[in-house]
Structures are given as C-alpha cells and as structure tokens.
Amino acid sequence: MVSCATLEQAGRWRWVGVMTIFACALVPAVPLLWVAAEGGGGGGAWLGEGFPGGLRRSLQVAVWVAGLSLVAGLPCGVLAGLYRFPFRRVLLALLVLPLLAPPFLWALGLSMLRTQLALPPHSLLGGLGGTVLAFCSGAVPLTLFASMLASQTLSRSQTQAARLAGGEMHLCLLAARHAFPMAALAATLGAVLTISDPGPGQIFGHEGAASQILISFAASYDFSLAARQSLALAGLALAVALPVAGWLAPRLSAGLLARSAFLAEPGASRAAGRLTLVLVCSVIGVTILPGLAGLCLPAFRDAPFERAWQEAARTLPNTILYGVGAGLLAMVLGVALALCAGRQPRLRLVALAGVFVLFSLPPALGALGIVRLGSEAGAAFDPVLRGRFPVVLWLGLRLFPIVSVFAMRRLGAAPVSWAQAAALHGLPLRIYFLRILAPWLLPAAAVGGLLAGLLGIADIGSMLLLHPPGHGSFPLAIFTVMANAPESLVATLCLAYFGLSALVLALAWALAGRISSFPARS
C-alpha cells in the first residue's frame, strides 16, 4: 500500500510526474519544432529581421501589463477577499467577462469606442496605451482573482490577531503581503500571455513578436521560421521567468497548522466595504466597460437578434463542451502537477518555470502539430486526434498551468500533519485524496479550471485550426462573421455571447454555493 506520507516526502516519482506532464503539453508542438530543427535558416536573418523589434515592443507591453495588473489587481483582490461589499457577486461576475473574449475583441471594442467618441488616433486609446489597456482587461481580473483567493486562505486566528494588533489597516497590509506572491504570479502569467497574442498590437499598430510569428504562419507559410521564432520567444520567457519563479517558488508553500486551517469569513466593515466597492467599480470602469461599450453599443442602433440567436443556437452547445472539457482536463493536470511538485523547492521552481514557458508559446504551434499528427497517424487515431476531443485536449494542455499555480499555492497551505496522521492510521492514499485533500484543493482548482475554460473558449486561433467542420465555438463564429458583417450584427453577437456566458456563470456560481465549502466556516 502506498503510504499517505509519500505525499510529504521527496521521491523520484515527483520528477517523473512533473516531466511527464510537461512532456504531454509539449508533444503537440513537436511536429513543428521538428520542422524547425530540420529547416535551414532560409534567406535573411535566422529569426527574421523584424523579430528583435517585435520582441522589444512585446517586452514593453508585458512589463506595463504586469505592473498595472499588480497595482490594480492586488489591492482590489485583497479587499474583495476580506470584505463583503454591495453587489459583490454581480461585480465579480463582470470581472470575469474579459476572460471570455480574446484580447483582440477587446482591442477592437476600444478602437470602436475611440471612433465613436471621435478621439484622435494617438490618444490613450491607441498605440502602446491601447495595446496595454486591451491586455489589462484580462490580466487585471486574473491578478484580482488570484489575490482574492490568496487573501481568503488567511486563517481566522491570523485575521483576528492582525485586527487586534492594528485594526483593519493592519489586516489589509498583512493580507496584501500574504497575497503578494500569488498576485505577482498571476500578473506575470498575464504578462507572458501578452507575448504570445498578436491581436491588440495589430489593432493599435504596436505589433510585437507574436505578430512576427503570425506573419511567418499566415503570410509566408514558413513553418520553420515560425517554429524558430516560437522557440526564441520561449527562451526569452524562460530567461525572464526564472528569476521570478525562483523568488516565488519558496513563497508558494506556507503551510498552515491544522489548528489554523479554519478560514475567516469576509468581514463586514462598512468603510472597508465601501472602499472595496469603489475600487472594484474603478477597475471595471477602466479596464472592462470601455471595451464592452465599444463592442456592444452598435447593437442598440439596430440589433439583428434573430441572426444572433441562430449563431448562438448553432455554436453554444459546442462552446460549453469545449469550455467545460478544457476546464476539467486543466483541473486534472494542474492538480497532478501541484501534487508532483509538492513542497520540494527545486521542483516548484521547475514547475513554475515550465508554466511560464508553456504560456509563452503561440497556441498555433501545438494546434497545427495536432492537425499534422492527425493527418499522418491514420484513421484509427481519429477519435483522439480529430473531432471535438483534440480541441478539449489541446485547450486543457495549454491552459492547465493556470490551475497548477492556484493548486500549488493551495496545496502549500495544507498542514503537513494531515498526511502524517493519515499515514499513521493506514488510510489508503485514494481515500485520503478523495476525502481530505481533494476537498481542500477544490476551491482553488475549481476557480483555476473556470478561468482555464473561459480562456480556452477565447482562444480562437486554436479553435479555428482544430474544430471539426460544423462544430465551431461562439467566439470563433463572431470572428468569422466579423469580416464585412454590419457592426450591429457583430455587436449583437458580442452582447448575446456575454449575456449568455454571464447566465451560465451565474448558474455555476449558484451551484458552487451549494457545495459545502472547505474548510468549514463558523
């Protein structure tokens, strides 16, 4: 019988597990990386002449996005985790909306708003500013939710002690310090995601390295160059991510004592609640409403709801399937990675660095790899490599790092003595996992899985390449209809998409509220 104490001990199985999971995530990219290895340098520079400039612009954007996400997301998230405030559920649901849509769509909304407001092209809603703002629409909520979750892992006794020591301000500062590693991680993830997304840069004329890769794919059809550029991007992400991962890795494991694993309820301080409300509304007002308004306002001129409903009816079931499937797979892989990394410092460092590298790779690399594998593998492999399953598979493989980050933090907070007590009493590992560890990890894994599912649905590049004919997703339909569709139709589709998604999220939230939350609250 495998002892539960194994979960708290070093072992070769951990390295095997971590490497296997990352290998699975990288396998789809192998066909194109192979092409890169075989292909020569071609004419001109090995990475293309425009690539260094694109890299510079990408780094610029990434640094701004990380900084702004941290500055806006951390305090908001901490306060949202510590205090109740009016319209909490509605506002938090609004914050999720940007994650549903590709940053390209958000950038388009901002650009359309700028046009509607007759602002000059070089205003804040243009160039670097517009690009950063478009990416912040997703990165700030990501950081906010990470901070919120982290602040909610403070124990009741810790919050009470902080309040006694210095009141609410002291509690907020303590919570901010406690949440900072997770917030920094989420902000860095958000920044890394900007590197692999060409969208907003294309719209606002601030094209980054991802645009260069898109050109290699979509204009030159030079897979070899695209793969080399992707590898270079991954190398850069690794170089930037390693010091961040090195700093963060030890801070992800701050185990609570079992006596302390009873968490605090959100507090009811009126002043703090009002402040939280103002801050959250400000975040929504700056990062979300402009893009949403730009996208959806034309719908109020002349809304072809019937056409929009047709698209929704055609694509919504598949959209839900892809999102839920990707989220579940991401949860399984993310929790598995967190369990394998455990509290081992070196493994956590490797896991974090690997997470950043995976995120920096353009989605098309893996998606095209799966298409190629599907073509060359033969009809016997169609159930795995063609159809809807590879869409779920690829999105889950691509986005499980989000879940792993949340799960690592949550697992790090679990008391060591739980596994020791289980080992001493001969509790089978399966029972320990199902009855004790999984419920502990569930809140973090579920939030991570939800975010992964939403981001997966928004990945239209992968969707376009992998979806079986006739089974596209709603966001993909918006993008394929967008070209030369009337603005009002695009706006109505966006409105329908966000509205229906909000409904689905509300139902999921209501369902989650009925699940006994863990640990127990007084």
Partner: protein
C-alpha cells in the same frame, strides 16, 4: 521484561543541521515517559522517528523486539506499528465530522466493516466525553473538544504505544485536568505505553513516571521526575525545578 521501545544510536540531520545525534534509550511496556527540552531540540522529531514518519540517518529502532526503522530505511510502515499519536496541531481533517475523523483512522485490518468502524469510533468519542458532538466538524468545536477528538482517534485503534506531542496547548486548567485524568485512566486500564512531549510540569507530573531531557541534540539526563527535579543536571530540569519551587 523485554523493552517495548528500543532506540539505539539514532541520528538525524536536516541538511547540514544536526537534529539528533547518537540517541539511545529504551522503554518498557506500560512505562509513561515525558520528553522535555527547549523548543527545537528534537522532541517532536523523536516522536516522528518512533512513528515511522521520518527515516533515521543512522541507528536502529525496534518495537517489541521487531526492527521497525534503521539507517535510511523504514522497515515497518507507520500504520503497521500500532502506534497512536496526538499531533501538536491535532491534525484533524476539517471537512469531516468527529465520528468520521475517528472512523477513517481505524484501518480495515482492525475492523473490516464500515459499521463496526463507526461503532468503535463512537465508543472512543464517548470514552473521551465527546460522544454528543460526533456530528460536528472541528471548526464547530472548542479547542478542548477538538483535542478530545484527536485523542479519541489515537485511542480508537487501541495502540500499544501512545505518542502525545504537546496536545494540551491552550486548554484551561479545569479542562486540562479532566483530560489528563481520562488519559491516565485509559493508559493504565488499556495497558498503553505512553510518551508525552510537554513543557508543563503539571502535565509531566500527572502523566509520567519517567522523564527524559533532550538538549544539544542528545539525551542530557533521564530518570524519575521527582529525583531529577531534586538534583537537576540539565538547564531544562533546573528551570522546571525553579518553577516548582516558586511560591
């Protein structure tokens, strides 16, 4: 009478830091031993070694003549040693109620049927005076009630050796006295050998007959408590003697 616990030349390091160096002692059946020493001296680690939760770097540990741990190796798994332990932080599983906390701690090898496990768990909770709270989760209990659940879980498996790692921290005197009496009568009635880690002379006096002081990674002195307090050699015993002598 052959020793129940025999620790011979056991050493352990965490990285470059020595924790225990060449520790040897033995314990007879039904002995009650208190482990004393300054914080961080290795008392909890010693319990962890006995429980099989930590591997010794060198030395041997036998239980009732059977080799259970040796250099770098756990020979007998923790759950096969019939050891009950009350952890310093109690290690109660928060999402399970009291009866489930105790029931899951009863291995199938002891009680194959789930119903009998549940019965045994309820009996253990009743014996600890907490039967009426069996459906409550730990967060819904006071500290004293949680400690009783932890003790019930340790006693439910009818261990031959009971390890108590500062289990009474934070309890008021009345509750502590009551629990101490209960453990004392249990240990005597069930013929359980007991090792207690504590800083409190009251607990030590109440539960143990023998005392062992760990200082500077090894055993500083051991013997009957009263004798050691009369002529203390270690800093710990000197402090304890002073505390007892204070008006």
């Amino acid at each position: 009478m052959s020793a129940l616990v025999d620790m011979n030349g056991v050493s352990l390091r965490y990285g470059d830091e020595p924790v225990l160096e060449d520790v040897s002692f033995s314990l007879n059946p039904m002995d009650h031993l208190a482990l004393l020493g300054p914080s961080g001296c290795g008392k909890s680690t010693l319990l962890s070694l006995l429980a099989g939760l930590t591997r010794p770097a060198s030395g041997k540990i036998t239980l009732d003549g059977e080799l259970v741990s040796e250099s770098g190796r756990i020979v007998v798994a923790p759950h096969a040693r019939r050891i009950g332990m009350v952890f310093q932080d109690l290690a109660l599983w928060p999402n399970l109620n009291a009866v489930e906390n105790v029931r899951l701690g009863i291995p199938r090898s002891l009680e194959p049927s789930r119903k009998r496990q549940a019965d045994r768990a309820r009996k253990a909770l009743d014996a600890c005076g907490i039967g009426d709270l069996s459906l409550r989760k730990p967060a819904q209990m006071s500290a004293g009630q949680q400690q009783r659940v932890a003790i019930a879980r340790a006693l439910a498996i009818r261990p031959r050796l009971l390890l108590l790692d500062e289990p009474f921290t934070g309890l008021d005197l009345a509750v502590k006295s009551r629990i101490l009496d209960e453990i004392q009568s249990f240990a005597s009635g069930q013929q359980i050998t007991l090792i207690l880690v504590s800083h409190d002379p009251l607990e030590v006096r109440h539960l143990s007959r023998q005392v062992m002081v760990i200082e500077h990674h090894g055993i500083a002195e051991q013997g009957p408590f009263d004798l050691l307090t009369r002529s203390p050699k270690s800093a710990t015993m000197r402090a304890m003697a002073l505390h007892l002598a204070a008006p």
